[in-house]
C-alpha cells in the first residue's frame, strides 16, 4: 500500500518512513499540506499520516481537502500540540474526517498496527 506522510519536521518524516517501509509499505513524503495535496493528486496514496501544525497549509485544512477530493481515503492525524495542547487539535481533526489521531510522542508499533487495521478495513 502507498502511504503519504505530511509533516514539517524532517526527523519525524524519516522516522515514519522507516516505520512504514519496515511494515512493508511504499512511502511518499511532503513537508506541508500544500505539497501533500500536490503529491496526493500526483500519486494517490491509500492512507495519509498528517501533522496538524505546519507552515503554508495546516493539517486541518489538508484533512478537509483530502476528504472532499478522496472520500474513501484513510487519514491518521498526529500532533505535538501547541498553545492549547494536542487535545484541542486532535478532536477537531477527527470531526473533519481523520480516522484515527495520535499525540506526539507516539508508540511506533501502535501506529503501524493502526495503519494495518485501517488498510485492512478499507
Amino acid at each position: 500500500m502507498r502511504i503519504l506522510i505530511i509533516d514539517d519536521d524532517e526527523q519525524i518524516r524519516i522516522l515514519l518512513r522507516q516505520v512504514m517501509e519496515w511494515a512493508g509499505h511504499e512511502v511518499i513524503e511532503a513537508a506541508d499540506g500544500r505539497e501533500g495535496m500536490h503529491q496526493q493528486r500526483k500519486q494517490e496514496a491509500d492512507l495519509v499520516i498528517t501533522d496538524l501544525i505546519m507552515p503554508e497549509q495546516e493539517g486541518l485544512e489538508t484533512i478537509t481537502l483530502l476528504k472532499r477530493e478522496y472520500p474513501l481515503i484513510k487519514i491518521i492525524a498526529i500532533s505535538g500540540g501547541g498553545r492549547i495542547g494536542p487535545d484541542a487539535y486532535l478532536p477537531a481533526a477527527q470531526e473533519l474526517g481523520a480516522d484515527r489521531v495520535f499525540s506526539k510522542p507516539f508508540d511506533v508499533r501502535e501506529l503501524a498496527t493502526t495503519v494495518k487495521e485501517l488498510l485492512a478495513n478499507g
Partner: protein
C-alpha cells in the same frame, strides 16, 4: 556678602522654577529703586558686606541667609515690598517638591529648598556649607558622573540620570549654570527622584518577558513533542527490530536489522537530543537575559525562528504568513529583545483577531528612506533600515485608543488576558535600539505595526564567532562585584588564551598587588562597586604599578571625564554591557604585540 546669594536666587531660581515673571514684574522694579550704580551685578550690592565680598557666591556659614538679611536700610515701603517679594520667593522655592540646591563653583551648598533638606539632612543638621558630593555620595571628591564640568564648559543646562548608591536612589539630575558678569559663579542643581519609575520600568520589562515566555510555551511544547517523538520512535524501532524482540508480535514485516541501520537509529536519537539541547539553550538565553546585550546581529534567522515557534502557539485557525526578503543586512540589536518585540506584536495581533479566524503576516525587508518615509514617519532619520512588519486581519484599533497605545499601563484587555504593558515596553526597547515604531489601523480591517531598525554598514561582521576574536596569553586581573560577570568574563577570556585572576571586590584586587605574588599584565575593572569605585581602584593600583594598563568598564550614566580617567591610569573605557569582541580587540590594542592566533 549676602547680596551675592540674593543675586543668584533672583536671577537663576526665578528662571528655574518659572518665577521669571515674578522677578521682572514684581521684584526688578523695586530693586531698580535701590540701585545706585556701584555694582555691575544684575542686582546691585546693597550693603558694605556685598562690596567686600571676596567671591560672588561666598557663603556665610555662620548665619542663616534668611530674607530678613537682605532687608537693608532703605525706605520703609521699598523694604516692605522687597521683604514681601522675598517671602513669596522663599515660599515658592520651598514648595517645589524636587530637591533643589544652589551651589557655588566649589560645589558647596549655598542654599537648599525644604525637599533638599529632607533628603540630605543627617540627623536634622543643616546642609548649607557642605559639599553636595558629601551628602549625595558620601565622598570627599566630586562624583564621577558630576555634570558641573560639562555645564561650566558649555554654559548651558544639562540633564542626566544618576544613581547614587550611597543614598540608594536614582535621580534625573538637572544642572544649570549661574552666570554673572559673564562668569559661571555657581550652579542650580535639581534632583528629581525617579527611583520608583526605574523600578517600575524594570518590572514592566520583566512582566512583558513573562508574557512573551508564556506565548512561547506552546511552541516549545510542540517542538519538544516532536523531538520526543523522534527519540522514542527511533528507540522503539531499534527495540522491535533487534533480534531480542523477535518473539514478540508486531506489525513489521521487514528484513532483520543491519548494523548500518542500528547506527542510523542511534544517530537519529542523537540528532534529536542535540535539538532538545539547543532548544533548552534558547529558552534559558531568553529567560535569563536581564540587561541589554546588543551586538551586530543578523535579524532574519531570529525572525524565522520566532515565527516557527509562534506558529505552533496560535490556534490552527489563525494563519501565520512569513515573508523574509533575501540578504537582509545586520542591525545592532539584542537578540532576546528582538524576540520579545516580535512575540509581543504577534500575540497582540492574535488577540485582535476575532473568533480566532484570520491571518497574521510577518514580513522583514530592507528599505532606504526617502522623502515619502520622512513625511510619514517624523522620527525617521534618512538612511538604510531593516523593516519588520506585523499585520493582522483583526478588529482594528479605535483612533482614540491608537493615540495612547504606547502609554505604560494603557490596556484594552480584560483582567486575566495579560498585563497590557507590552506595547509600552516594546516602544522602550525599539527606541533603545535607535529604531522607530509606527502603527496604522482601520476598524474592522486590521492593524499594521511597522518597526524600523537602522541597518549596519555592509562591512559590519557578526559578533557570534569567539574563534575569530584576537587572542593572547598575558595575565589579566578582572574585577567586578557581580560574581556571575566575573565567572563569565574569566571563562570567555580564558577561551582566548589569557590567564585570568578573578576578583569580586576592589579589596581582593588590591591584595594581588600588595602580596606581589602574581605578575599582572592588565587590569580590567568595573566602575560601580561598593566601598571603592573602579576609578579609585585604578588610582591606587597605578600608584603601586604606574605602567600597568587599565581598562575601565562603566555604565552610560556614570560619566567620567577623560582627564579623570587619564589621571587614574585608565587607558580605555568600555561601555557596559561590555561587548566581548570589543573587549578582545581593546585588550590587544593596549597590550604589547606578541604572537597570537586570530
Amino acid at each position: 556678602m549676602n547680596t551675592s546669594l540674593m543675586t543668584i536666587i533672583f536671577c537663576l531660581l526665578a528662571g528655574y522654577v518659572g518665577l521669571a515673571l515674578l522677578y521682572f514684574i514684581s521684584i526688578r522694579p523695586r530693586l531698580r529703586c535701590l540701585q545706585n550704580g556701584q555694582s555691575k551685578s544684575p542686582i546691585p550690592a546693597c550693603s558694605s558686606d556685598a562690596v567686600d565680598a571676596p567671591s560672588p557666591l561666598a557663603v556665610d556659614h555662620g548665619g542663616e541667609a534668611s530674607p530678613q538679611a537682605y532687608a537693608l536700610a532703605e525706605p520703609a515701603t521699598s523694604h516692605l515690598a522687597l521683604q514681601r517679594s522675598l517671602d513669596e520667593w522663599w515660599h515658592t522655592f520651598d514648595a517645589v517638591i524636587d530637591p533643589i540646591l544652589i551651589l557655588d563653583t566649589d560645589l558647596t551648598i549655598v542654599k537648599g529648598n525644604r525637599a533638599a533638606l529632607q533628603l540630605l539632612s543627617v540627623n536634622g543638621s543643616g546642609i548649607e556649607g557642605k559639599k553636595c558630593h558629601q551628602l549625595f555620595a558620601g565622598s570627599d571628591t566630586p562624583c564621577l558622573m558630576c555634570l558641573v564640568q560639562k555645564v561650566c564648559c558649555e554654559r548651558k543646562p544639562h540633564l542626566q540620570e544618576i544613581t547614587h548608591r550611597y543614598i540608594g536612589r536614582t535621580f534625573s539630575v538637572s544642572c544649570a549654570p549661574i552666570i554673572n558678569d559673564d562668569k559661571v559663579v555657581g550652579f542650580v542643581h535639581s534632583a528629581k527622584d525617579i527611583s520608583l519609575q526605574c523600578n517600575l520600568e524594570k518590572r514592566l520589562v520583566h512582566a512583558s518577558k513573562l508574557e512573551a515566555i508564556s506565548t512561547l510555551a506552546g511552541g516549545i511544547a510542540h517542538d519538544f513533542n516532536n523531538i520526543l517523538g523522534a527519540i522514542l520512535g527511533n528507540a522503539d524501532l531499534l527495540l522491535y527490530r533487534l533480534p531480542i524482540q523477535e518473539k514478540e508480535e508486531h506489525p513489521f514485516v521487514g528484513p532483520p536489522i543491519t548494523y548500518e541501520e542500528i547506527a542510523e537509529h542511534v544517530q537519529a536519537i542523537k540528532r534529536a537530543g542535540n535539538r532538545a539541547k539547543a532548544l533548552v539553550g534558547q529558552i534559558l538565553a531568553f529567560s535569563r537575559q536581564t540587561t541589554n546585550q546588543r551586538r551586530n546581529l543578523l535579524i532574519a534567522p531570529v525572525v524565522k525562528e520566532v515565527c516557527r515557534l509562534l506558529r505552533a502557539s496560535f490556534p490552527a485557525t489563525i494563519e501565520l504568513k512569513v515573508s523574509v526578503a533575501q540578504d537582509i543586512g545586520m542591525i545592532y540589536a539584542d537578540p532576546g529583545q528582538i524576540q520579545q518585540v516580535l512575540m509581543n506584536l504577534c500575540t497582540n495581533a492574535a488577540q485582535a483577531i476575532e473568533n480566532d479566524i484570520g491571518v497574521i503576516e510577518v514580513s522583514l525587508r530592507e528599505i532606504e528612506t526617502g522623502k515619502a518615509e520622512q513625511l510619514r514617519y517624523n522620527d525617521l532619520v534618512p538612511g538604510k533600515y531593516v523593516v519588520l512588519t506585523v499585520q493582522d486581519t483583526g478588529k482594528g484599533i479605535p483612533p482614540k485608543t491608537l493615540e495612547r497605545i504606547f502609554d505604560p499601563f494603557f490596556t484594552t484587555r480584560e483582567v486575566g488576558e495579560g498585563t497590557g504593558m507590552g506595547l509600552a515596553v516594546l516602544h522602550g526597547i525599539i527606541v533603545s535600539h535607535d529604531g522607530v515604531i509606527d502603527v496604522k489601523s482601520e476598524m474592522g480591517k486590521g492593524t499594521v505595526f511597522t518597526v524600523f531598525f537602522p541597518r549596519l554598514p555592509e562591512a559590519a561582521g557578526e559578533d557570534d564567532e569567539i574563534v575569530l576574536m584576537p587572542r593572547g596569553t598575558e595575565t589579566i586581573l578582572f574585577v567586578d562585584d557581580e560574581e556571575d560577570i566575573v565567572k563569565m568574563r574569566t571563562r570567555m577570556l580564558s577561551y582566548l588564551g589569557y590567564r585570568l585572576l578573578p576578583a569580586t571586590s576592589p579589596e581582593q584586587a588590591l591584595s594581588y598587588f600588595t602580596k606581589g605574588h602574581e605578575h599582572i599584565d592588565l587590569l580590567i575593572t568595573d566602575h560601580t562597586m561598593p566601598r571603592m569605585t573602579g576609578l579609585q581602584l585604578a588610582t591606587r593600583i597605578s600608584a603601586m604599578k604606574p605602567d600597568l594598563p587599565i581598562i575601565l568598564c562603566s555604565g552610560y550614566s556614570e560619566a567620567i571625564t577623560p582627564e579623570e580617567a587619564k589621571k587614574a591610569g585608565v587607558r580605555r573605557f568600555l561601555a557596559k554591557p561590555v561587548d566581548m569582541r570589543l573587549l578582545a580587540i581593546a585588550i590587544r590594542e593596549i597590550l604589547p604585540n606578541q604572537d597570537r592566533g586570530e
